[in-house]
Point group: C2
Chain length 343, copies 2
């Protein structure tokens, strides 16, 4: 049933995003072409392409929230496009900020067109995300509701920049606390997932309580999702994730297992010494051993599980998990899928 | 009288922007501190500072437009803050894109905190500009009007990214046309000035025709302003502009005098040859001679003058230039001041 929703919604989402970005001929062809490239619709020569443009999780959750509260998904479609375009804006800028030359097995926008154009392309994608959301005014949303949707969206954007700030500020530090880490992913990952669900519910005409619960579901899902990602980044199966094993150790990422172990009285000092300089692949087993001694895997699994449970509790409290509510059932399925994933 | 308006409005604008950015203690202190630094409110150690934060032309025009149509300026204050914050977002990213280490005699944000944090700080400033505009809902604006204001603002943002795209794409080219140049400044400079006036008029409760005329006034003022800037960038008096003489020649900027002369049948070929490689200061007189032979100064002065006249015609047509309308008179004064400036 879940798959039916994907099959039905994904083309709608894709069409809406294509409409918003447009294919601007003339002097701006390359400007918008860079955005279309990033979305996976064209290749670097701007010829139509069919490539992996990402999982479109956020817009799916947005539309499912709308359906689950009994709304018409067309009313939430502009918001679905908006949250996915916003996510992609953040990826374009993240790739510049992280100096990442590839994404989804293709060169990143900055790698092809240079950093200055990539920054500006990201700014354009950011703007188009907002303009996509204005589309709700053409549907059944009153001006007051459209305004509320824009405010939810804009505050989520602010949380995103706060989370990104913290994430980058962690790079030079060996004293990041678990609290700081949780604040960081609260902004960088959870805020937009929360907004995706809240917007879907709002535009589906849910009452304030249900909107709040679904936002909470989304935020907790985001936290659990990110911690799961942290686990895969260290202990994931290379043949399944497609990333090199222990990639987060080699890049010395301050993910939760590491942050947790850095504060461990027994292994913290040695881990800090190792993380104070580049880590070669020969040193990975020793780092894994330190993480094991700190019980980092168990701690993060437990914490992710708690966030997962909190997500499910909020979903149940929202009232959508009742017999016959297929949208609600689909939300539950997507949540289980996201947290059971191996890649 | 003009000066009275500046003395009265500037503190209001500054306070509103300070309120929107906030001074976030705790983990985000440095994130918001970078924005406060850029605005000229603190130094690099985040200590209070009094430095030149720019002319605040856009918010002044926004408030004057509101006053000129008989509105209460408090109703336009959130828009005034929004357009100035948006302008400053674009400066933070421009400085990264242009690799500029200083602005207003201080190190730029990227020069102090690195490119990744500067990109993200710009994204935060962009977001705060939008959040500032949401403030109109707390005033007399209906939700429908607030929504209209947000749409005007968001479309201006898109024009800004288009203009910036074109400007950067000119760098490697010697065949930029005058039309392309005009399209570029239409996006990069004129769109936001137009939106500043349109928002002020809209929030001052002007009718659609007056809003349109004032937007047109702003756009043409923007065009004239930019061309004036182009003239000063080549022929400005170093002791007045504070920039080195002929700075736009040394950086090989595709400003209007150069674009015009590049297409000149008599001197174009030689100018293209010179612009195909770095220009040393010894070569500046020869370039100036080519521009003189093409009549570039006269052409740009004439074109700027035409835009200036179009601006004044639109201002007159808006109906605000009547006896006793001090706001209208002040708009006229600001226009004359902007175009008569020597720096």
């Amino acid at each position: 049933m879940n798959q039916d929703y994907f099959a039905h919604y994904l083309p709608l989402i894709e069409d809406e995003m294509r409409r918003v970005i447009g294919d601007a001929p003339g002097v701006y062809a390359r400007h918008y072409g860079m955005l279309r490239y990033h979305m996976g619709w064209v290749d670097a020569q701007m010829q139509p392409a069919v490539v992996n443009g990402g999982k479109r999780i956020r817009p799916m959750l947005c539309l499912l929230a709308c359906a689950a509260v009994g709304g018409a998904v067309d009313d939430a479609l502009p918001a679905a496009a908006a949250v996915e375009l916003l996510h992609n804006f953040s990826l374009i800028h993240d790739d510049v900020e992280d100096d990442s030359p590839t994404r989804r097995h293709r060169p990143t926008v900055w790698a092809l067109w240079g950093v200055p154009q990539a920054i500006n392309a990201g700014d354009a994608m950011f703007t188009l995300a907002r303009l996509a959301l204005h589309g709700v005014s053409a549907g059944s949303a009153t001006p007051a509701r459209a305004l509320e949707a824009l405010a939810i969206f804009d505050y989520a954007c602010l949380r995103l920049t706060e989370g990104q700030y913290l994430d980058m500020s962690f790079e030079g530090r060996l004293d990041v606390t678990v609290d700081e880490y949780l604040t960081m992913i609260g902004g960088k990952t959870a805020a937009l997932l929360g907004a995706s669900l809240e917007l879907g519910a709002l535009l589906g005409d849910a009452d304030q309580a249900a909107c709040g619960r679904l936002a909470e579901f989304g935020r907790n899902l985001g936290l659990a999702f990110q911690m799961q990602d942290d686990i895969l980044g260290i202990w994931g199966d290379e043949t399944i994730t497609g990333k090199s094993a222990a990639s987060d150790i080699l890049t010395r990422k301050k993910s939760l297992p590491v942050v947790y172990a850095l504060a461990n009285p027994r292994v913290g000092a040695e881990l800090r010494a190792r993380y104070a300089q580049p880590i070669e692949s020969e040193a990975v087993p020793a780092v894994l051993e330190l993480l094991a001694q700190a019980g980092a895997h168990e701690y993060v699994s437990r914490t992710a599980q708690a966030a997962h449970q909190a997500a499910l509790a909020a979903l149940a409290a929202s009232g959508v998990l009742v017999d016959g509510n297929e949208g609600g059932a689909a939300l539950l399925e997507v949540a289980e899928m996201l947290l059971g994933r191996q890649s």
